[in-house]
Symmetry: C2
Subunit: 249 residues, 2 copies
């Protein structure tokens, strides 16, 4: 924690923001009308990049345990779900892989999604589609992201017509380490695309950028993310809280 | 999950237990009169054995991150605390070590507790004091557990007169793998001792045995613990929920 706590609190107190709790602020950012109702024995699959992966063990097909779920938002959300819905017999999987862009999800989609037959599929993908391009390591464009993401969902819905979808918004914390002004406005296009895709494919959309922007009113960027992209434990719990809100209402 | 879900639900439905949520059941087991109020910049230290340790990285002095906090109840509680009290600048440490009995906490207490100067100290210790004796690997008795635990708290209060204490009850899930009838009634003495010690040293007491017993009404033992002692992810979140309840009321 490198921030000047006293100054920060003074600033936020002036804005009058300390009177309601952060979970309440996050809840306000996610309309409860979008509630996704879990059913008995639902299989929940989390898919994405390093933010989802978070050091999970790769060579197993296990669920509901910390080794398979990693140390990020998935295990925090899974803890909440397995406690709150202990009577439901949920099976929770994490198949995120660090560095993934949309086309890399597509490459492994049969094995890491369709064969698992999720009832609920949660996808957080897009920051690398931009970031790796920004850093000259990838030639993708917003058009490719858009096209590949839609193709992935078409394929998913064809194989799993009943699947309930959650699409999480790619986010970044401007001014924190890796994320500077050069990201904008181009990175925003990936956020907008994810939102439109969620709408077009009838997915529950979690506005993570809004969630983080709200959280920044309570504690500074470094509290939520070490590099502007990867969440700290506090940031992981923030994402998990937003996710669980979609289910709990 | 090896249990017959349908039968189990039928049984619990007959008992009329499915109408309130598990978090509510847990809350009912912990009187809200025992609330511990967190202050700005509080240092919170979790101490104990493998249940606390949960694979944390040992050779660092870090806090608030998943590597240092392990994958058990500490990281689940820390996630909740860092989100709910994001404005407080909490520092959360885990110094649990697998296999520890009370005397082993004492051996490392200067470095792993007193030097950290916790404002809130949470201790979960005792199952190995009994288990290792039961298995013929340790010669301790309930008298030694009682004496050593009290000496540890005397030493702690002398060095840190203002410290707020939380003592968690050692628990076991009878009939799950390692825990059979031969544990009883002797193991219960360790539970009763911890409760009396908490009372005598003005500590907040978390009745984990009661919490797990209540949880067993909603899902079977294997859902909460793989071997009767070490919690699953669901069990870890259960402990974390009970812990956070003491703080949130």
């Amino acid at each position: 924690m490198m921030f000047k706590r006293r100054e920060f609190i003074k600033k936020t107190s002036i804005a009058g923001l300390m009177v309601i709790s952060l979970p309440e602020i996050v809840n306000a950012a996610i309309p409860s009308s979008t509630r996704l109702k879990l059913a008995d024995s639902d299989i929940i699959l989390f898919q994405g990049d390093s933010i989802t992966d978070s050091g999970r063990k790769k060579d197993d097909s296990n669920y509901n345990n910390t080794t398979s779920l990693g140390s990020g938002y998935v295990v925090q959300a899974a803890g909440d779900l397995l406690l709150d819905y202990a009577d439901k017999g949920l099976k929770i999987y994490n198949k995120g892989i660090s560095g993934n862009k949309v086309y890399q999800l597509a490459d492994r989609w049969d094995k890491d999604c369709l064969e698992i037959k999720p009832d609920v599929l949660s996808i957080l993908i897009g920051v690398n589609d931009y970031w790796h391009k920004h850093d000259g390591k990838y030639n993708g464009t917003i058009e490719i992201y858009n096209r590949d993401f839609r193709a992935l969902l078409e394929r998913t819905k064809a194989a799993l017509p009943q699947v309930k979808l959650i699409i999480m918004e790619p986010y970044a914390l401007k001014g924190i380490k890796a994320v500077d002004d050069t990201w904008y406005p181009e990175f925003d296009e990936y956020r907008f695309a994810a939102k439109q895709i969620a709408k077009d494919y009838d997915a529950h959309f979690i506005p993570l950028q809004t969630v983080f922007d709200e959280a920044l009113k309570v504690a500074p960027g470094e509290y939520w993310s070490a590099d502007g992209v990867h969440p700290t434990l506090a940031g992981s719990k923030l994402i998990a809280h937003a996710w669980v809100k979609v289910v709990k209402g």
